[in-house]
Amino acid sequence: MEVIFVLIAISLILAGSFLFLFFRAMKDGQFEDSHTPAIRILFENQQSKKKKIPTPKSK
């Protein structure tokens, strides 16, 4: 049963590191703007597509 002590230590360290990561993300401003990244992620796809097909004209 003593293995539980080890497990407790591991679980606390794990949970603690999640807390730390959350703090870091907060500090970096990850939660400040939740809308723009959703749009931004689509940009690169369009650019690479454009390289292959020259200017897809909108009808």
């Binding site: 907060m26 723009t36 749009i39 940009f43």
Partner: protein, 812 residues
């Protein structure tokens, strides 16, 4: 000066490749694409040169029309001023600068893409990052390669001119407070979760199987995890309780702080001295739930600002005339006696005397009336208006902060904190609550000591304090108010914070501003007097007004809806005077009495007059009154049922009889009110013990909005400028104001009902606590259940009642 409005008739079908607007006045071709104006074409040229035409693929017609864009090159000269640069930038070192601009035009994915690819346009730019919701872009640039001024010019060249106003220069407010709450919530959640795991074995009889070593370890771990909760997550409550006690008052945080401290210290004693399990998990859960409530109560509207004063509206720089030379200087360096030049669409920055030019001043942001006021040479022009028409020259009479309007902000009302007078429901009962709880606790202690069982007495004493810790009580308020805030927000009524709801419920006097609040430019009442207009003349008038952007033209235009439109030759608009055109060789005029040389007497008062003449013969005139918004009479009569209603207006009292007929006697009307008079009026009402709600719209109401207990700004477009207030209401929902006021009252009733619910839990808890029967397991079950059930109760009731009253589309 006049300018012909018809240059070339464009085909109606073509739309601008850049902005998507129909090419009405002119049609330009470039690379087989059609543009509505040179501005739009120019933007396209810049982008196509730099291979940035992807801009046009991401969203359809993403640009904004460049027709009205100012082309003056020197208007950003003030951005070379080192003082101004230092105040505007977020960060600067030898190499690079970081700056955040607000760009109101950001509206689509293409905007984001372009602004984040600025480095392709100019190598001096390092990067750009857009916050779409806040309409902001942070740009990092090397100031040695591109100056701030050139950067702003670059942005305006591609159609994204940042708005830089006086408030940006005056102060930099960085709010970090709500972030702290999230950190605290995270810590409390982390500790609570782990503590629950370690306490779980205690809840079951199987704990015995684990042996003593485990039990002790778990308890010590709990103590360890409780430390951050007690010393970090709960700090707000100690501070608030302490401040409240120092002011000889008892707010809701006092009993909470007592409960937290008792829980923590008794648990320490229980664990270390008695070797029991303590109540640490309950402490963690308590804080976690309390902080969630606090967080839920904070609902912020990113795109709205509730604290704007005239500075967020005034420009940073003005054009000063020194002899023949034009200097662009920062507004703060403007002195009395300076001669300044104000161009079309520019703001009058200070009270000044008109030296030269035709002034037509649009005071719509100040008074809510959008028909320009005509001023003659030598007349005093108050700051805050916008010049419409050609450039004018002015002599500054007062410094920008000392003017007729801006002097308002030097009033005491803007110095003091606004939360005076009205106490929240929770704080009012918490005094009695704390006393009662302490009374019961001491009575229980005395009883058991009298019985000779001292240790049981101490247990009962602490148990009472622990079990009555008003967790559920403290949560009913934030959840009810937070929910109400959201319901109102969905109904386009945006409140600054949740406390406003409670204040709103208690108001007993409503003061309306007239122009722009009860009346609306779009609801103008147009009447025609004089010789009957033939169908032909109507079509002529329609043809004339449809070519003008003047507010009065628009009103006549909508009055003549359905009439045929003649297209006339040589329509001229003479700024501030009227329109002139020729029809079948006859001169037709539409405009002011002076303009058409009218000699008509016995004219109606209380509105604008537009005369119509053919070949010098005045045929008649249009009488245009500002119209009331829809259902205003019903709103006033409904509110007047349980509140007194007042009306303040800056206008002359010629509309008194008309309004009296409409509203009846319930309305107390006051005319000729200056911005300062309005403030004083509200102050007098407050001093007489009234709880005032001010509803206004313009800068001239700012003082009254500030002085009132609750100030609501009405605006036709919520993202537009509105003066500092407690709430911003979309003008389209003003007819729901009585419903919102009622709902605010309802939410108070819901809070009261949930207080009743949590008192029931408390009395059950106290019943066991005084007998010393409370165990950690009992606590760990009862406290979350009471909290959660209160939350569910308040959320469901507010949503259901809002749904029933039509303030919400669906229940959840």
């Amino acid at each position: 000066m006049s300018k012909p409005l018809h240059t070339k008739q464009a085909t109606q079908t073509s739309t601008c490749y850049h902005c998507g607007e129909p090419c009405k006045d002119e049609l330009l071709h470039f690379e087989e694409k059609e543009f509505c104006c040179t501005g739009c074409k120019l933007v396209y040229e810049v982008l196509s040169e730099n291979d940035l035409c992807n801009y046009y693929d991401i969203a359809e017609k993403p640009g904004s029309s460049q027709k009205d864009a100012s082309k003056r090159d020197n208007r950003f000269d003030y951005l070379d001023d080192a003082d101004i640069i230092r105040k505007l930038v977020d960060f600067q070192n030898e190499e690079e600068s970081h700056i955040t601009f607000t760009i109101p035009l950001i509206h689509c994915a293409s905007c984001i893409w372009l602004l984040e690819n600025l480095h392709k346009l100019d190598s001096g730019v390092i990067s750009g990052r857009v916050d779409f919701i806040k309409k902001k872009v942070q740009i990092k640039f090397r100031q040695n390669n591109i100056s701030l001024r050139d950067l702003v010019i670059l942005l305006s060249k591609i159609g994204y001119e940042p708005s830089i106003n006086l408030a940006d220069v005056e102060k930099k407010a960085v709010s970090k407070t709500d972030k702290k709450l999230i950190y605290k919530l995270a810590v409390a959640g982390f500790c609570f979760g782990n503590m629950m795991l370690f306490s779980l074995p205690e809840y079951f009889a199987e704990a015995e199987l684990l042996g003593n070593g485990f039990k002790k370890t778990f308890n010590y771990l709990n103590v360890l995890l409780a430390l951050p909760v007690f010393f970090y997550a709960a700090t707000d409550y100690y501070r608030s309780a302490w401040i409240s006690l120092r002011n000889k008052a008892v707010n809701m945080d006092v009993p909470i702080a007592i409960g937290i401290v008792t829980l923590f210290s008794y648990s320490l004693y229980d664990i270390f001295a008695l070797g029991n399990e303590g109540y640490m998990d309950t402490l963690g859960g308590l804080l976690f739930f309390l902080l969630i409530g606090k967080y839920y109560q904070q609902k912020t509207y990113d795109t709205l600002s509730f604290d704007r004063d005239y500075k967020s509206y005034f420009p940073v720089a003005v054009t000063k005339l020194v002899g023949e030379r034009e200097d662009v200087i920062p507004l703060v360096k403007l002195n009395v006696g300076d001669v300044i030049k104000v161009r079309n669409e520019e703001l009058i920055p200070s009270d000044s005397i008109l030296l030269e030019g035709d002034a037509a001043i649009d005071y719509s942001f100040v008074t809510g009336e959008e028909v320009p006021v005509i001023k003659k040479r030598g007349e005093l022009i108050y700051a805050g208006g916008r010049q419409k028409g050609r450039a004018i020259t002015l002599a500054v009479q007062k410094s920008p902060s000392q003017g007729y309007l801006t002097d308002l902000w030097n009033n005491d009302a803007f110095e003091k904190e606004k939360s005076k007078g009205l106490e929240s429901l929770a704080n009012r009962i918490s005094g009695k609550f704390t006393l009662t709880v302490l009374g019961i606790a001491f009575a229980a202690l005395a009883f058991w000591v009298y019985q000779g069982q001292i240790s049981l007495g101490v247990l009962a004493f602490t148990s009472v304090l622990i079990i009555t810790c008003p967790c559920a009580l403290a949560m009913s308020t934030p959840f009810t108010l937070g929910n109400t805030l959201r319901v109102m927000g969905q109904g386009k009524f945006y409140l600054k914070n949740a406390h406003v709801i409670e204040k709103l419920a208690k108001t007993d006097t409503v003061v309306f501003d007239k122009t722009g609040t009860l009346t609306a430019p779009a609801k103008a009442k147009v009447q025609y007097f004089g010789e009957l207009l033939s169908e032909e003349s109507q079509a002529i008038i329609k043809g004339m007004v449809s070519q003008s952007t003047h507010a009065l033209s628009n009103r006549i235009n909508s009055y003549l809806a359905g009439v045929k439109t003649f297209s006339l030759d040589q329509i001229e608009e003479i700024q501030g005077k009227g329109l002139k055109a020729f029809y079948k060789g006859q001169e037709v005029k539409l405009g002011s009495a002076e303009f058409v040389a009218s000699s008509l007497s016995d004219l109606p008062e209380g509105g604008n007059l537009v005369f119509f003449s053919v070949e010098g013969n005045v045929l008649g005139y249009f009488f245009i009154q500002s119209g009331l918004r829809e259902n205003v009479a019903e709103i006033v009569s409904e509110i007047s049922r349980d509140r007194s209603v007042h009306l303040l207006s800056g206008d002359q009292d010629h509309e008194r009889n008309y309004l009296k007929k409409l509203f009846g006697d319930v309305l107390e009307m006051n005319f000729n009110q200056s911005p300062k008079d309005k403030l004083t009026y509200l102050k007098n009402l407050n001093d007489n013990g009234s709880k005032t709600l001010m509803v206004g719209d313009g800068l001239n109401d700012a003082g009254a909005l500030q002085e009132s207990h609750v100030g609501i700004a009405i605006t036709d477009k919520v993202t537009n400028f509105s003066p500092a207030s407690d709430g911003i209401m979309d003008a389209s929902v003003i007819n729901r104001l009585p419903a919102f006021l009622k709902f605010a009252k309802t939410s108070r009733k819901i809070i009261k009902a949930s207080f009743g619910l949590s008192f029931t839990y408390n009395s059950v808890g106290v019943f066991f606590a005084v007998q010393g029967l409370v165990s950690p397991v009992f606590c760990a079950i009862l406290m979350p259940i009471s909290s959660i059930s209160v939350v569910i109760f308040t959320t469901l009731t507010t949503n259901y009642l809002a749904y029933k009253r039509g303030l919400k589309d669906k229940i959840l």
